[in-house]
Subunit: 457 residues, 2 copies
C-alpha cells in the first residue's frame, strides 16, 4: 500500500496545498465574537472538503456555540469505526507585529507552511481528509470513518459535551483518532499518551472608582496593580510550588520507576534553553524539565493589563487591573474542584482596600491513553512504516479538554497521533508546519486504517 | 479695585470662555510624539493670547524638545517682576471610553468646564492671561510681568532646565507665580507650600525569546508576568513600607509638632473614602492619610501589560511583561539618587531565568515655599479678599518637578496659588474645572499684583 500512497501524494501535492490554503485563509478565531461569521464559513468549507473526499454525507450542525461539521462514510457495520476529531478554529494572532507574514495568507518558505492554523489544527486535521480521500478513491477503505470537526477547541470546547450527549449514537465509534499534538522530532516519531488538564480564569481588581492622580492620592489609596501583583506573587513560592491550599491534594504521583523511564527520553537542557531563548530554566524544585511539563501542574499568568500602557510617562493611580490566569492540571486533579479552590484562595488573599472579581473562563480534565489499545498498536505500526522507527509514548504538557470528555460521554478512548513539531510555534507568531510532516501525515494515516482493520479480522 | 474687576469679568465672561476653548481644542499631548504639530499650534495660540492681552512682546521659542511661549510687559525697572509659569501640554486621554464628552471639545454643564486641560493647566494658566489683560487694559499694572508657558510639564520638563540656563537674564524675576495646584475646597482657599518630587521608570522583563504554548512549556520556563508581579510585590511590604535599600535614608522627618498642626486641617475619612470610591484606605503604617500624601514617599505602578489581553482565553506563556513604575519623593530625597537605587534593586531581585531592562523616564526634586515670603503674603491677602477667609498653607502630594529646578537655576522662589479642586479629575477621564473657580481666579490674580507692588512701595 505504501508505494501507492506515496505515488498518490506525489501526484496531488500541489492540489492538497491549494485546498488547505483556502481553509487557512478563513480567519476562524473562536475567542473573538466578531469572527463568528468566519466560523460558519470554515464549517461550510469543511463540509465541501469531506464531500469532495468521498463522504456519503456531510453537514454543518448547530451547537449552543459555534457550528461543527460532521461527515461519514459507512462501509460495513462489522468493520471498526474510527471517529476523526479535529478543530477548525484557531488562536488569536496577537502580537500581530511579530509575524513575518500575514497570519491568514499562507506562504511556503524554507520547506514549511507559515500561517495561523498551519499546524494547529487546520494543517493536521486536513491530513485526515486527504488520507480519507486516498482510501475512498482507491476503494481500499477497511473501516467506517466519521469526522467531527469542531469550532471551539481553542476556547475549551464549552458546547461540545452537550452536542456529544445529544448525538451519542451518531458519534459511536471504536476509537477516536486525533492529530492535534506533536512528535518529539522529525526523525523521532512519538504518540501522546497523556494530556494535562486546564483551568483558566480572568481576574479583575478594582481600587478607586476612577483613575486618580498618583501624586495627589498616591500613598493613601491602594493601587490595584500593586495589589494584583502581590496576589499573583502569593500564589507561587520561590521553588515553583503553587500555594493554593488543597491544590496538590489529588495529584497522581508518578512512581520512581516510571520517572526513571521518562528520564531515558533523549533530551538536552542546552538545546532546550537555546530553543526557547533563555539562560536559565525555572520550575518546580525536585523535578526535571520533562517532568515539570509532563506530570506536574503549573500556574501561569497568560496576560496582565491595567493603568497607562501608552508611550511615555503618565502619573496615574489606576482604578482597575486585570489578569488572565491559567493552571495546567495532571491526572486525578478535578478541574471543577481546582476552579473553586483558586477563586476561594484569590478572594481570601485580597485586601479590603480593593474589590476582586474572578471569572472562570474555561477548563477541562487531563487524559491518559493505555499503550495496549488495538488502535494504539495500529498507530505504532503505521508510524514505524513511514518513519522507520518505533514511536515513543510521551506525556504532553498541553491540554485538549474534550478528549477526557469524549471518554466520559461516549465511552471511547482517543489515540493522539500528532505530526506537529516543537518548533511549529503554535499559539505564537509565525506558526508553521513543515511540508515533510504534512505529507508524511497523509502517508501514515491510511496505514493506520489498514492495520486497525487487520486487528479486527 | 475689586468692584472694577468683578465688572470686567461680568462683561467679558463669554469671551473668556470662547478664547479658552480655542486653546483646549488643540490636543497638545506632550507624551505622544504624533502630537508634536499640536505643540506648535498651542505655542502660537499662546503668543496670540499674550499679545492680545497687552504684552509688549511675545514669541514662540525653541527648546531641545517642544517649544515654549515667552511674553512680557515691563512697566518700570524698579517695580517688582513676576514670572508667570504655566504649561500648554496635557495628559493623554486614555481610557477614552470612560469620558462622557469628547476630551478635546469643551462643554459647559452643571457649572463646570469639561475637557482635558480644563483645569490642568490650560484653564488655570489662562486665568493669568485674563487677569493680566484687565491690568494692562485698565492701566493698573503695578508690576513687571513675564510669562513662560511650556510644553513638556506632563513629561517632567526635560528640556526646560537647559532653556532656563540659556535665558537666565530674560527670566529674571522677584517671584514665580504658578496656578497648577488645587485648593482644599471651593469655600476653603489654600496655598500649596510643598510639592513631592518624582521618579518614573519603565521596566521590561523578558522570559523566552517568543511567546510559547503554556501547555507545552508551562512549568519549565519562567513566565515574565509571574516574575514581574513578584518583583513588584517585593518592593513594598504589607505595611506600605518601600523595601528598596536606602530609599528612606534622606527623607526629611517632620516633627511631631508640625504633624499635630497638619492634623488640624479639616478632613473626613468617610468623605475621602466616598470621594475615591473605596471601602478601606491603604497606606504606610503609622501615618494619617494627609501625611501619606503630604510628607511621605510612595511606590505606585502606573501601568502594567504583557501576554494576551484580548477577549476570552488564550493559553500563552508570554515572552515579555512591562510596567510603568513611579515613586513620589519628599524633601531631601534626591531623585537622581533614587533613580539609581531603584534600578540597582530591581536588577538585584531579578531571577536569572529572565532579562530585566529598566529605563528611567523622568523625575524631579521636591519643593518647599516659606510662608513669610512677601509674595506669599500678597497671595494670602488676595485670596482673603475674594474668598473671605485666610488661606491655609498645605503640602501637596503632587509634583511639579520644574519648580525646584527654577529655584536652583534662577534662584527664585515660586508661589503656588492654585484654583483647582480635588474633584477636577485632572489626569483622569472627565477632567473638569468649575466656572466659579475659573472666574474667581481671574478676580484674585490682579489683587495679588496690587498687594505685591504695595509691599515694594
Amino acid at each position: 500500500m505504501m508505494n501507492e500512497i506515496n505515488k498518490y501524494v506525489e501526484t496531488h501535492k500541489q492540489r492538497f496545498l491549494d485546498e488547505l490554503f483556502e481553509l487557512i485563509r478563513i480567519p476562524s478565531i473562536s475567542s473573538i465574537p466578531a469572527h463568528k461569521p468566519d466560523m460558519y464559513r470554515a464549517a461550510e468549507k469543511w463540509k465541501e472538503i469531506l464531500l469532495a473526499a468521498g463522504a456519503d454525507k456531510a453537514e454543518v450542525m448547530e451547537t449552543d456555540g459555534n457550528p461543527v461539521t460532521y461527515g461519514e462514510k459507512i462501509i460495513d457495520k462489522k468493520a471498526p469505526t474510527v471517529l476523526v476529531y479535529g478543530h477548525m478554529d484557531v488562536m488569536p494572532v496577537d502580537p500581530v507585529d511579530l509575524w513575518k507574514t500575514d497570519p491568514f495568507e499562507p506562504v511556503v518558505k524554507d520547506g514549511k507552511i507559515w500561517a495561523r492554523g498551519a499546524d494547529d489544527d487546520k494543517g493536521q486535521s486536513f491530513m485526515h481528509a486527504k488520507a480519507f480521500e486516498y482510501l475512498a478513491q482507491s476503494g481500499k477503505l477497511g473501516c467506517n470513518v466519521k469526522f467531527l470537526i469542531e469550532g471551539e477547541e481553542e476556547v475549551g470546547s464549552p458546547n461540545l459535551p452537550k452536542f456529544c450527549k445529544k448525538h451519542k449514537k451518531m458519534l459511536q465509534a471504536d476509537v477516536i483518532l486525533v492529530s492535534d499534538t506533536s512528535m518529539i522530532a522529525r526523525d523521532m516519531p512519538s504518540i501522546t499518551t497523556g494530556l494535562r488538564g486546564l483551568a483558566y480564569w480572568q481576574v479583575e481588581v478594582t481600587g478607586p472608582a476612577a483613575d486618580l492622580h498618583s501624586g495627589l492620592f498616591g500613598g493613601a489609596v491602594a493601587n490595584p496593580i500593586n495589589v494584583l501583583s502581590k496576589m499573583i506573587a502569593q500564589t507561587m513560592d520561590d521553588e515553583g510550588r503553587i500555594l493554593i491550599p488543597g491544590f496538590y491534594d489529588d495529584v497522581a504521583e508518578v512512581s520512581g520507576k516510571e520517572r526513571a523511564m521518562m528520564g531515558k527520553a533523549p533530551f538536552s537542557i542546552q538545546e532546550y534553553k537555546k530553543s526557547v531563548g533563555v539562560k536559565e530554566l525555572f520550575g518546580e524544585k525536585g523535578y526535571t524539565t520533562n517532568e515539570r511539563t509532563g506530570i506536574r501542574p503549573t500556574f501561569d499568568v497568560c496576560g496582565i493589563w491595567g493603568g497607562y500602557t501608552g508611550e511615555g510617562a503618565k502619573t496615574v493611580l489606576p482604578s482597575k487591573a486585570y489578569a488572565k490566569i491559567s493552571t495546567r492540571l495532571v491526572p486525578n486533579q478535578d478541574h471543577k474542584k481546582i476552579e473553586k479552590l483558586f477563586v476561594k484562595y484569590f478572594e481570601s488573599i485580597a485586601p479590603k482596600s480593593v474589590k476582586v472579581k474572578v471569572e472562570y473562563l474555561h477548563g477541562g480534565p487531563s487524559y491518559v491513553c493505555p499503550i495496549d489499545l488495538p488502535a494504539y498498536k495500529a498507530a505504532e505500526k503505521a508510524l514505524k512504516d513511514v518513519y522507520g522507527k518505533d514511536p515513543v509514548p510521551v506525556r504532553s504538557g498541553g491540554s485538549i479538554p474534550i478528549i477526557a470528555t469524549f471518554e466520559e460521554i461516549l465511552g471511547v478512548k482517543s489515540v493522539l497521533m500528532g505530526f506537529g513539531l516543537g518548533s511549529d510555534a503554535i499559539h505564537s507568531p509565525n506558526e508553521n508546519f513543515p511540508l515533510e510532516q504534512f505529507y508524511n501525515g497523509i502517508r501514515t494515516l491510511p496505514l493506520f486504517y489498514q492495520y486497525l482493520a487487520e486487528e479486527r479480522d
